[in-house]
Amino acid sequence: MKGTNVGEFEELVLLTIAALFDEAYSVGICDELERQTKRSVKLGVVHSVLHRLEEKGLVKSKLGEATQTRGGKRKRYYSITSAGKAAVLRSKEVRDQLWNMIPEFSLKRI
């Protein structure tokens, strides 16, 4: 099942949610990603990724308080689940392993 794997963008979103901790809602995530990656991030894309992550059980969400800027609509805050934590950790592990495998000289020559 594809649920156990996370894609590159999904991983970024997951990490951002973890980093923002209490302030992780869609627009906030979007802004933070833009700031970190220096590329434009579309709200629609973030939304669909959040939706997918929630379906996979990697994040969970709850509704927060309403604000003036949102036209009286409540924010939906996301937080990472233990499955989500496991998923990010695993992908970090995979990366670390691969990094460790790279011989010293192989990247230097390029």
Binding site: S26, V27, L43, G44, H47, S48, H51, L63, A66, Q68, T69, R70, G71, K73, R74, K75, R76
Partner: protein, 875 residues
């Protein structure tokens, strides 16, 4: 920072979002979009922010955000259907007048719609029986000569067919047809006329005409082979087997090599017999339009081919372009362009000259369909108008339904159900009308009968039903929307607070639209009729009274002339190749001094009696002098030809004796005629010439002075029978011939006139309903006014002024529009027309106004005359 007046994103976009979005996701999405919106206002301005908002709303339309249709709702709607139908039925019965207006109006307009559907269904089923119908194409030809408008032909040259066969490997099978095989078949001592085409051996490979007898591959291969349809075989041989028999045409033996099933009615190629094309090829000397195989002889041949399954039509077209470019090099002052036409666009397609069979120009079809649609729309407007006007009576019902728990969608469903029910009732009525209309329509013109049958098939019935449901939904949608948005509290608190008149502007707009269309239709009818009458009574420049034109059908003109002259009522007889002013033309290239300067002039071949019988006016010179056997040396021309070449300084007298070159012959001008109309009123007078001959005639023109027409015609028929006992006499009065030539106009006038009649009926009924309703709702007001001392005249003025204003408004839209369309567009194309007169422009308005006034007046008078005490004591 404080926002004094918060700017909202576009309301409709927000609504759209909340309509399609899952409720669970909705709040979050709305909030996000709003946040972005506020942000964008600051950074990019309001307009840009709104635009981005709208775009984002559409972007969020994704699979995971869409609301799934509620199964339960669907089920409830289904169960409620019975209830809807029941209440709708009760309502129809309760409001008899309004239901009647609606049903009759819809039925009348739908009958036209049904007619249109069956016409379209017939036209689109043309050539459907060919197995390769999607891969068959026809070569069409466009010829442009310098200084003359281009002519588009359905026919092409044999050479084009042969070349394509040789050089273009992209075609699969190609067949060449030549039209107008029309001869008398001699079998034993019987002579029976048959007609058909010449076709080559691959005819049956391209087209699907199943053979009952004979071999499809070889049937049309050998010279002097003939293939008969089943019907033709029965006609020639009775019940005997025709296959293998001999038929004699012009004392040459042809053998029957095949019998095919009858040609379906909906085939654009119609024939009784097919003769092998190779017969023509071995006799090619006897051809009449120039060289048989020339690139220029493009008038009688048709080329059809199929492309392979994976064939590319663009490549074929490109190859045709190359072929034309190569062949055109040999032409002087002329350019021939070949293009492709798909089989399915032949019967209903663009206008081409020289069609091989029946054809309907698609523009005409779409215009008629558009007009029909307008008439139907008009009836829908009536329903919409009356239903919303009656809202006050239905509002409580809807309010209670809503209190009990009906959703908006269910109320919507209920009202659409009601309108569909009405339109289905109307369908029953209109089917009856349809059968009546069908007869009328088919008998309008023999061409129509040739083109369509309007038979009812299962497919058509299904289309009728779908059409009725569509009409119902279309007319019921607006009222349904109105009712579903009724505010419960307002309605139940007291009916008076309901804003029935809130939609007044919409209703007024609908009435104005209806009346504008009615006025456009009726004015068009009048203007068209005046033009048509003008065409018929047109001063052609020659006389047509009491002239009977006999089509010779291949007989010797002299024999018939002799017989005819023995009849006492016949005063003079002349002979001609064609008949002027009917739209058929025959032309030849003409040159004067400068060999480079040529022009295509139309001409007619006549004998010495032609000009006197038709009382043509000679400006100078003389008529032809009869001479037999000698070479053709003389020509009589019109003024336009003098002007074109500046012969004799445009002076008719000086032009006499000048020589002009006609095709390859040098002819001397012996007479100059005053310009006359040899073509229809659509064409300007161009160079024209009469040439003399002793044979080559197709018509005999008989001047008759008679007091007893039936007896005279009988004499003429007897005279004809003496010469030709095979063909029936084909004689028509010149005036009738001219009437036939303009028959398309008379059909158009009749059809639009009929539509005008319908549109007026429907809009009048609608207006009537509105007047009745207004009068009823204002009954109390009127009574009080009356008590206070208003006169009947005052009251009528009060009630009717609103409607009269609408009527005048629609006239102000319709009349100038019609005038401009005729003056600037339609009449521009008709060289000799009468200007649009005030009488025909306003008579339609007067009629419609009178009808409307009568209805408004009668109803308001009724109300104004009621006894106020009766009305007021009820409270």
């Amino acid at each position: 920072m404080k926002d004094q007046s918060p700017i909202h994103p576009p309301r409709w976009a927000t609504r759209l979002l909340s309509w399609y979005c899952k409720p669970a996701l909705l709040e979050d999405l709305q909030g996000d979009l709003n946040e972005y919106f506020q942000r964008n206002i600051k950074s990019r301005g309001i307009r840009k922010a709104k635009l981005i908002y709208v775009i984002d709303v559409f972007k969020f339309f994704r699979l995971y955000t869409i609301r799934k249709p509620g199964f339960v709702n669907l089920l409830i709607n289904w169960m409620m259907l019975g209830s809807y139908i029941k209440t709708s039925g009760r309502n129809i019965v309760r409001n008899k007048l309004f239901s009647a207006i609606n049903i009759v109006g819809m039925a009348v307009s739908m009958s036209v719609g049904l007619l249109m559907i069956s016409i379209l269904s017939d036209l689109f089923s043309y050539d459907d029986f060919h197995e390769k119908k999607d891969r068959i194409y026809r070569i069409t030809t466009m010829t442009e000569s310098t200084g003359q408008p281009a002519i588009e032909l359905a026919s092409t040259s044999i050479k084009a067919g042969k070349k394509i066969q040789e050089i273009i490997s992209l075609t699969e099978d190609l067949t060449i047809l030549r039209n107008n095989f029309s001869k008398d078949a001699h079998i034993g001592n019987k002579a029976i006329p048959v007609s058909g085409h010449w076709a080559d051996a691959s005819f049956f490979k391209v087209f699907t005409f199943p053979l009952m007898k004979g071999n499809a591959v070889t049937a049309l291969k050998e010279p002097y082979s003939i293939v008969l349809t089943d019907k033709a075989a029965k006609k020639l041989f009775g019940d005997a087997d025709a296959y293998g028999k001999q038929i004699v045409f012009d004392s040459v033996n042809y053998s029957v090599t095949g019998v095919i099933k009858d040609v379906p009615k909906f085939s654009h190629i119609q024939f009784e017999v097919l003769v092998s094309f190779s017969t023509l090829e071995i006799n090619k000397a006897s051809d009449f339009d120039g060289d048989f195989l020339s690139w220029k002889s493009i008038f009688s041949n048709y080329v059809y081919f199929t492309i392979p399954h994976n064939g590319n039509i663009e490549t074929v077209q490109a190859n045709l372009g190359q072929l034309c470019a190569k062949e055109n090099q040999a032409l002087i002052n002329q350019k021939i362009t070949l293009s492709l036409q798909a089989l399915k666009t032949i019967a209903i397609g663009k206008h081409l000259a020289n069609q091989i069979g029946p054809n309907m120009v698609n523009v005409v079809v779409w215009i008629l369909a558009g007009l029909t649609f307008i008439v139907i729309l008009s009836a829908c407007f009536n329903y919409t108008n009356l239903s919303i006007a009656r809202a006050i009576r239905r509002a409580k019902e809807v309010g209670i339904r809503k209190v009990i728990g009906a959703f908006k969608s269910q109320v919507l469903m209920q009202f659409i159900c009601e309108s569909v029910l009405i339109s289905l009732l109307a369908l029953c009525l209109s089917s009856g009308l349809f059968f009546f209309l069908r007869e009328q329509f088919i008998s309008l013109n023999p061409h129509i009968e040739e083109l369509i049958t309007l038979n009812i098939s299962l497919k058509v019935v299904l289309a009728f039903l779908i059409f009725a449901v569509l009409v119902g939904v279309m007319s019921g949608f607006l009222p349904a929307l109105f009712f579903s948005h009724i505010n419960i509290i307002q309605v139940l608190k007291g009916s008076s607070s309901l804003k029935v008149f809130r939609h007044l502007n919409l209703r007024k707009a609908l009435i104005v639209t209806q009346y504008s269309f009615s006025l456009i239709f009726i004015t068009t009818t009048f203007v068209g009729y005046v033009q048509y009458k003008n065409f018929l009574a047109f001063d052609l420049g020659f006389k047509t009274e009491n002239i009977l034109n006999l089509y010779l059908q291949g007989n010797k003109a002299n024999l018939i002339e002799k017989e005819l002259l023995e009849i006492p009522e016949v005063s003079k007889v002349s002979k001609s190749l064609m008949i002027s002013s009917l739209g058929s033309l025959y032309g030849e290239t003409v040159k004067y001094l400068d060999p480079q300067d040529s022009v295509g002039a139309f001409c007619n071949i006549i004998d010495e009696n032609y000009l006197p019988i038709h009382e043509h006016q000679l400006l100078a010179g003389r008529n032809f002098i009869p001479h037999a056997g000698k070479l053709e040396t003389e020509v009589i021309v019109n003024e336009a030809l003098l002007k074109r070449f500046n012969i004799g300084g445009k002076d008719p007298v000086k032009a006499l004796g000048e020589a002009i070159e006609f095709g390859k012959k040098k002819l001397t001008i012996v007479g100059v005629l005053k310009d006359f109309h040899y073509g229809t009123a659509m064409d300007k007078i161009e160079p024209f010439a009469f040439r003399y001959s002793t044979d080559n005639f197709r018509y005999v023109n008989v001047k008759v002075n008679s007091t007893d027409w039936p007896a005279t015609l009988e004499h003429i028929e007897k005279a004809w029978k003496k010469v030709d006992h095979v063909h029936p006499l084909d004689a028509k009065f010149y005036a009738n011939d001219i009437e036939n030539a303009y028959s398309q106009f008379s059909i158009m006038v009749k059809v639009i006139g009929f539509l005008a009649f319908l549109a007026i009926c429907i809009s009048s009924m609608g207006l009537f309903g509105m007047v009745v309703f207004t009068a009823e709702t204002k009954l109390k007001e009127i009574s009080i006014r009356k008590v206070l001392g208003a006169t009947e005249g005052n009251l009528i003025y009060l009630l009717s002024r609103g409607f009269l204003f609408l009527l005048i408004l629609s006239a102000a839209i319709a009349l100038p529009l019609t005038y401009l369309v005729f003056d600037r567009l339609i009449l521009r194309n008709i060289a000799y027309h009468v200007p649009v007169g005030l009488l025909e422009l306003f008579s339609g308005f007067v009629i419609v106004g009178a009808i409307a006034f009568l209805m408004i007046g009668s109803q308001t008078l009724k109300v104004a005359r009621t006894n106020p005490a009766e009305v007021l004591k009820n409270e």
